[in-house]
């Protein structure tokens, strides 16, 4: 390659500044699309890498945070326990943007408890589930999101009904629920951008094929099936605060969602004519899609104003981890009062 001129973003960083360690995932793994689109989304949105904290659980999916934003702090924790780790850490500095990457094993099996509870707390976190229906790192076991009847090499047939992560997130009352597909990187990037600006729990279930263990053309988590059955709900674009006045959008055909930080999501309706503000309608949409064998993708539900855990917990506006040590301890006089209460 010749000397490529670096293009800098609005805060003077090149795309290279958003890179991570080289991926050790399989060539063609859907998760690499997640990594690449996250790099692009952060770069294009001018997000300083130092303002991002990355979290993950255990599994192929959870290796992903190593491969983007190496200038950000990251924590690769325990299997299924990423949500609690992110919850505690984000309390330390609420100006940080949390990005969690998990998988279908990590969130829909061992971590289902923490997954559901972090939804209802509406922790501000971009929560990506790289969903391939299979345990990759332990070499090809069936996961809880795999379709009934799926037969994998060296495994008996899946006898159970699948867990739908989007459904669970909706029922758990997440304030932003989307589905993406690694075979549709453009939409994935736009969803990531919207999620990065959303204040609250932003779940993105990404159908992210495992090319090694679960990518037969007729299986639900394969590239081929996805490409054939994907039905995008909208043409989605993301508009920064300053540019909204210049956007020409047609009422009725287009929906605009105003986010907390002044940015906007523009959704151009496609055949479904779907608007993502109603949880009941979202559940109905999933039921219909299931019946019609469609892979609906896009922003399925959003409530930009739902209270977050930080609103609920009376958090001070300060960054807690920068409070000086001498301000942490109550006064000597207060302890005298406490002692006087106990006689």
């Amino acid at each position: 390659m010749g000397a490529k001129k670096e293009t800098l973003n609005g805060i003077g960083l090149s795309k290279e500044d958003y890179a991570g360690a080289p991926s050790t995932l399989c060539r063609g793994c859907g998760h690499n699309a997640i990594v690449n689109q996250m790099i692009a989304a952060c770069y294009e949105e001018n997000i300083p890498p130092e303002k991002v904290v990355k979290f993950s659980g255990i599994g192929c999916s959870s290796k992903a945070p190593t491969y983007f934003l190496s200038r950000s702090f990251g924590f690769n924790g325990l299997h299924g326990r990423m949500p609690s780790l992110a919850t505690g850490a984000l309390f330390a500095d609420t100006s940080l943007i949390g990005i969690g990457v998990s998988g279908d094993g990590d969130s829909a099996s061992i971590g289902m408890g923490q997954f559901k509870h972090v939804m209802r707390r509406n922790l501000p976190l971009v929560y990506i589930i790289a969903n391939n229906g299979v345990y990759g790192l332990t070499k090809g076991q069936i996961s809880a999101t795999a379709e009934e009847g799926l037969a994998l090499k060296n495994q008996s047939q899946n006898m159970y009904m699948p867990i739908d992560i989007v459904w669970e997130a909706l029922v758990g009352r997440a304030s932003f629920v989307a589905r993406g597909f690694s075979g549709d990187p453009k939409q994935l990037k736009d969803l990531f951008k919207a999620a990065l600006h959303h204040r609250g729990m932003a779940v993105i279930d990404v159908i992210s094929p495992c090319v090694t263990f679960n990518n037969k053309d007729d299986t639900l988590h394969s590239y081929a099936w996805g490409k054939l059955h994907e039905v995008a709900l909208h043409e989605l674009s993301f508009v920064p605060a300053a540019e909204i006045v210049t956007v020409d959008y047609e009422k009725g055909q287009t929906a605009k969602v105003d986010l907390h930080d002044g940015t906007h999501i523009i959704l151009k309706k496609l055949e479904h004519g779907y608007e993502p503000g109603d949880r009941g309608a979202a559940l109905q949409l999933l039921e219909e899609a299931n019946r019609k064998q469609e892979l609906v993708t896009g922003l399925i539900y959003i409530d930009p104003d739902q209270k977050t855990i930080f609103d609920i917990d009376y958090l001070p506006p300060k960054r807690l981890n920068r409070v000086p040590a001498e301000e942490l301890r109550p006064s000597r006089e207060s302890l005298n009062k406490v002692n006087a209460l106990m006689v």
Partner: protein, 603 residues
């Protein structure tokens, strides 16, 4: 009315009262009021609640020991028994010492088969009815009848009872008046109907000056707050729940910002212990002072995450308020059975410092000290108490304001990184003490970020499976642990003239062991007593064992867990150690310790 003479010598300020009631019948108010009234009379007391794992209906007992000599362990004898529960009536009567006093609610129609005790039936229902208490509250206030009867019998000062009730109801006049009305009615009734003066008397003394009454859970909560607590996450479990509840209760009082009206620390009730510990590990990693409290079953659930915090070097403090295991065990009974579990919690080679507060005021002190140590070591630090210390009210010295500023350990911010003359690596042992420097999220220095993982890593936090790197890192973690020996509180040693044997104990058994040492001396067996205040053991413990012929290790579990740990750490002395274990779920008594040691010494 003419003064009635007792046939026996009066026993002043030296007896135990046990009240047998039905769980959920509101007897706690009556018992705590009695206890506080004694305390306000200046008489040293302890209160032990023996309760079932149940909300309503099963038998429960409360024992108040009144001791002018400040012997405050549970006593094996009861001089005064109050029987309010038909189900435990026969047993309660049976437990009373000869010459003891037996009060019971007269609606209980059970056989009285003892002639060697003084028996008074109390017309509980009648007195409550006559007091005019509203029907809906009668069951709750009925227990005040025995408070009144005991007041007359023992000579408790009525105004101290009133003060104790004021305390209990936070100055709310209505309930205080209602309860006082019954107490007074009962006193009148007792004065007319008790035909013998009690040999047991309560008399004003000055034995509680400068003391407070508090539970270990409250003290631990306050100690954590004064340790600069910033984040706690917890999950309900008996007997630890009182600690996060106290943290939450004191939050508006102690840590509300006067300007913003926001709290200075956060409390999250998690979905389980896995999440509770995960949250505090996230917070500790990101630079917050954190604590959680749990008990055995919760400790089991936290084990995987604690191993991660050990290996990834994240400061957290966990209080284990022990209850009786294994398994669900006896959730409302006390134990010291989690020492091995705690010391080695996690897979692979893990070891953790443990603080053992031996009094409620020490719970406060170790509360803030544990938080300092956790951040200095960048490691999980544990504080072990038990149900007895956590949930019962103990007479204790007032909480002392911390005498050293908050220690945040080796933490680097932007300016620090700018001024560094060496290349920082997250796990690089620059100082040679095994403790590296850390940065936390939010640090905007371009060199501050690193990737934390529970998998193999090198000095710069890069993923590594290199054999030498792995071994070196684990050796450094051990070096850090060895350093801990000099950082944890030293033991407290009580020596006696001519003592050739020693006893080691820790935690809530301190009153029983101290008392037993006095009795043993009277029996001609002088014993030096080492109260262990932390693990790992340090030189003082080693010297104590080396300088005694035999050393008894007293603990409340089956296997002598502390004895095993000490033996392993000084194998050449192991044959000197004699394990004495008491494992019933009840609090240790001085009589048991005395007999156990005499039994061995007299062989």
């Amino acid at each position: 009315m003419a003064e009635k003479k007792s046939v026996l010598e009066p026993v002043v300020n030296d007896f135990s009262i046990t009240v047998g009631t039905v769980n959920g019948s509101g007897s706690q108010t009556a018992n705590l009021t009695l206890m506080r009234a004694f305390f306000k009379m200046g008489i040293p007391i302890s209160g032990k609640n023996i309760f079932p794992s149940n909300i309503q209906g099963l038998p429960t007992w409360y024992t108040i020991r009144v001791s002018k000599d400040r012997y405050l362990a549970r006593s094996e004898t009861t001089e005064i028994m109050v029987a309010m529960n038909p189900a435990s009536f026969a047993n309660d009567l049976d437990k009373l010492v000869p010459g003891g006093i037996f009060l019971y609610a007269d609606h209980i129609k059970e056989e009285i088969n003892r002639a060697d005790v003084v028996v008074y039936p109390m017309p509980v229902k009648e007195l409550v009815r006559e007091s005019g208490a509203p029907r809906s509250l009668r069951d709750y206030v009925a227990n005040m009848v025995y408070v009144g009867a005991l007041t007359h019998l023992l000579g408790i000062e009525v105004e101290k009872l009133q003060e104790a009730l004021d305390f209990h109801f936070g100055g709310k006049q209505k309930p205080v008046e209602l309860n006082m009305k019954i107490i007074k009615k009962s006193i009148e009734w007792a004065a007319e109907n008790f035909d013998q003066a009690s040999p047991y008397r309560a008399e004003q003394m000055d034995g509680t000056d400068g003391y407070i009454l508090a539970t270990g859970n409250t003290a631990g909560a306050l100690g954590s707050i004064y340790g600069g607590l910033q984040f706690t996450a917890w999950y309900p479990i008996t007997p630890a729940t009182g600690m996060p509840e106290a943290i939450t209760k004191y939050r508006p009082f102690l840590q509300e910002d006067p300007e913003t009206k926001k709290y200075k620390f956060s409390v999250v009730q998690a979905e389980d212990e896995l999440a509770a510990v995960g949250m505090i590990i996230g917070a500790g990693w990101a630079g917050l002072r954190t604590v959680t409290a749990t008990s055995g079953p919760g400790m089991s659930l936290m084990s995987e995450y604690v191993g991660l915090a050990y290996y990834a070097e994240i400061p957290i403090v966990i209080w284990n308020v022990q209850r009786m295991g294994p398994s669900t065990g006896l959730p409302t009974r006390t134990s010291q059975g989690d020492i091995n579990q705690t010391y080695y919690l996690g897979q692979g080679d893990t070891k953790h410092p443990i603080f053992f507060p031996g009094s409620v005021t020490e719970c406060f002190e170790f509360g803030w000290k544990a938080m300092d140590l956790a951040e200095q070591l960048q490691a999980p630090v544990f504080v072990l108490i038990d149900l007895d210390m956590g949930m019962n009210q103990w007479m204790t010295e007032p909480f002392q304001y911390p005498d050293t500023p908050i220690k945040r350990g080796k933490i680097l911010w932007e300016d620090d990184l700018d001024n560094l003359d060496w290349e920082w690596g997250r796990y690089l042992d620059n100082d040679g003490d095994g403790i590296p420097y850390r940065t936390v999220p939010g640090n905007e220095h371009p060199k501050s970020a690193y990737f934390t993982r529970g998998t193999g890593h090198d000095e710069y936090a890069n993923y590594s499976e290199d054999p030498e790197t792995w071994a070196a890192n684990l050796a450094r973690l051990n070096k850090k642990f060895e350093l801990t020996r000099t950082m944890v509180p030293k033991p407290e040693i009580h020596s006696r003239d001519g003592a050739e044997i020693g006893v080691i104990a820790f935690g809530s058994t301190d009153p029983a062991v101290s008392e037993a040492c006095d009795y043993l001396e009277a029996d001609g067996v002088a014993v030096d007593y080492l109260r262990l205040r932390a693990l790992p053991i340090n030189e003082d413990v080693v010297d104590f064992i080396r300088s005694h012929k035999r050393v008894y290790v007293v603990e409340m579990n089956r296997d002598g867990q502390l004895c095993q740990i000490i033996a392993l750490e000084m194998l050449d002395q192991a044959t000197k150690l004699i394990s004495l274990t008491y494992n019933t779920g009840l609090q240790l008594t001085a009589a048991w310790v005395q007999n156990a040691i005499l039994g061995k010494e007299m062989k």
